[in-house]
């Protein structure tokens, strides 16, 4: 359980995941924030008004997956670095995954990085597709990688640098 070891259990994950039908339709945000904490920047970051908090700032964010267009603006808005974008339609075999990143080294587009799961285990290699460094994002980088489809819901961080890809 998340509260015991920092890792989402399957049950906890199921409460926030979009439906399989929505996953098939293209990029969508996954908000891995299931605790009532006083924080709300994701709400105003969403151009589709798809993120709401029912009972004010200390509530959990609730994402309307139908209205989410997967634009990724919420990813860098989250001070908890808890929002990811998954596009299962990236290609036949691979999905694209967008993660927030605040570590050195910064991978270059095309570079192979290690995909780390929620426990920090390297589960696959991933190709860097896009690196956004924006003044607006205040030093949080938004990085999109290509991962094998079966790892798209497992990988949540990357490790770049020597020896990460072959």
């Amino acid at each position: 359980m998340l509260i015991n070891d920092g890792i989402f259990s399957q049950t906890e994950l199921e409460s926030i995941l979009p439906s399989p039908e929505r996953m098939k339709k293209g990029p969508v945000a996954i908000i891995e924030c299931i605790q009532d904490i006083p924080c709300d920047p994701c709400v105003s970051s969403c151009p589709s008004h798809a993120i709401t908090m029912k009972s004010g700032i200390t509530d959990k964010p609730c994402l309307d997956h139908v209205h989410c267009i997967g634009c990724g603006l919420c990813v860098a808005s989250c001070p908890g670095l808890a929002i990811f974008i998954v596009d299962m339609n990236y290609s036949n075999r691979s999905a694209s995954l967008t993660v927030p990143h605040e570590l050195l080294p910064i991978p270059k587009v095309g570079e192979i990085v290690a995909g780390l799961d929620r426990a920090g285990k390297a589960v696959c290699e991933a190709k860097t597709l896009k690196v956004i460094k924006s003044k607006k994002y205040d030093k949080t980088m938004v990085i999109t990688i290509e991962v094998p489809k079966e790892h798209a819901m497992a990988v949540r961080a990357i490790k770049a640098g020597k020896g990460m890809g072959k």
């Binding site: 006083p38 200390t58 570590l103 050195l104 205040d138």
Partner: protein, 365 residues
């Protein structure tokens, strides 16, 4: 000749700076003293982005909040004098304090004082806890984020509150390996998004564990941890030795209260607020009516609530000298409204309960 001011503010962290800025904006003559070389208190070491409402500083990194508060202070410098590297060491009677700078010790006479001294770190008893390489989290942050020095190469973090989680993350960013995080409780104390952030970078989180000893001669070579049962007793034969050259203690904070005790403020023990705190009313006034309080010194919370509490204390201290004022009333009402939202919900429960106890207690005294 003795220095004179209307409002003396002790401490230039988020609470003290906010209190000083509001009181000076309203028109009071304010003197702020801080024993550090830099204004901003703990904010200057916070490189992570803050939570909170988009209406106030959410998503902004801690040091940027400090910069913003310093700009606000610079804008009211006509009414606000600031002395750095200067501590307030005690009160003489009701209207005088002694302040100590590297140059001199001098008295300051004041009409009101707002004490925003913050908190001190708690320590932990274990074998060899005085071995070089055992640090408090504040020291690790100061070394790393103020002076740019890594405290070690491999570090074991003790405590899973927000400080333990955030400092672990900052250590990883600085290139230090965090070999584990140890927590005596069965559950993680801080925000779970912070925990996930370090977990997915490979930091094992050992809940139900405690540190037994730091090992090494002259410096830390390893740490021994063991499992705790539900009564917090060590479970035999569960010892685990973890190699590290640094052990970082992030086991909570206690309000820094010496000035209140010396100023004869009634104190009250509220575990939910970090221990002994001065009794205070809704105006942030203690039982000594010249002494106001804001920030962690009034109960352990975080920077955003410290800023809001400071604004209330600054406005109330001004009004107590100059009489009721519409602008001050508006500042107080806005801050109270924001505080209510920030402390609502399940994560604010403990603090809410602690604050309610204080207000009830002062009502009967």
């Amino acid at each position: 000749m003795s220095r004179k001011t209307q409002v003396l503010v002790v401490g230039g962290g988020p609470a003290g700076l906010s209190a000083a800025v509001v009181a000076a904006q309203m028109g009071a003559k304010v003197l702020l003293v801080d024993d550090n070389p830099l204004l901003g208190g703990q904010l200057v070491k916070q490189t992570h982005r803050f939570f909170g409402s988009s209406a106030r500083d959410a998503g902004i990194r801690g040091y940027a909040i400090a910069e913003k508060l310093c700009e606000d202070a610079a804008a009211v410098k006509k009414n606000l004098s600031i002395l750095m590297n200067t501590s307030a060491v005690g009160f003489y009677g009701d209207t005088e304090a002694g302040i100590l700078s590297p140059e001199r010790y001098e008295p300051v006479s004041f009409e009101r004082v707002i004490v925003c001294t913050g908190a001190v770190e708690n320590s932990l008893n274990f074998e060899n806890n005085d071995l070089p390489g055992v640090y408090g989290a504040g020291a690790v942050q100061t070394l790393m984020n103020v002076h740019g020095i890594r405290p070690g190469k491999k570090i074991l973090m003790i405590g899973s509150g927000n400080i333990g989680l955030i400092v672990s993350y900052q250590l990883i960013q600085a290139g230090v390996e965090v070999v584990g995080l140890v927590e005596a409780l069965p559950t993680i104390g801080g925000y779970l998004v912070h925990a996930s952030k370090i977990r997915r970078l490979g930091v094992p989180i050992h809940t139900n564990h405690t540190i037994i000893s730091a090992n090494g001669v002259e410096k830390v070579k390893s740490a021994t941890i063991c499992r705790l049962d539900e009564k917090f007793q060590r479970v035999p034969n569960t010892e685990l030795e973890i190699g590290c050259d640094c052990i970082c203690l992030a086991v909570g904070l206690s309000p820094l209260i010496d000035l209140f005790q010396q100023g004869n403020c009634r104190m009250f023990f509220v575990p939910e607020l970090g221990g002994l705190v001065p009794l205070l009313d809704v105006n942030m006034r203690t039982t000594n009516h010249r002494i106001y309080v804001a920030g962690d010194a009034s109960g352990i919370e975080e920077a955003t609530t410290a800023i809001l509490g400071g604004r209330i204390a600054g406005a109330c201290a001004y009004e107590s000298i100059h009489g009721v004022d519409d602008k001050a009333q508006a500042i107080i009402a806005d801050a109270n409204e924001e505080l209510k939202h920030l402390r609502s919900g399940s994560t604010g429960e403990k603090v809410r309960w602690g604050r309610d106890r204080l207000i009830k207690e002062i009502a009967v005294c």
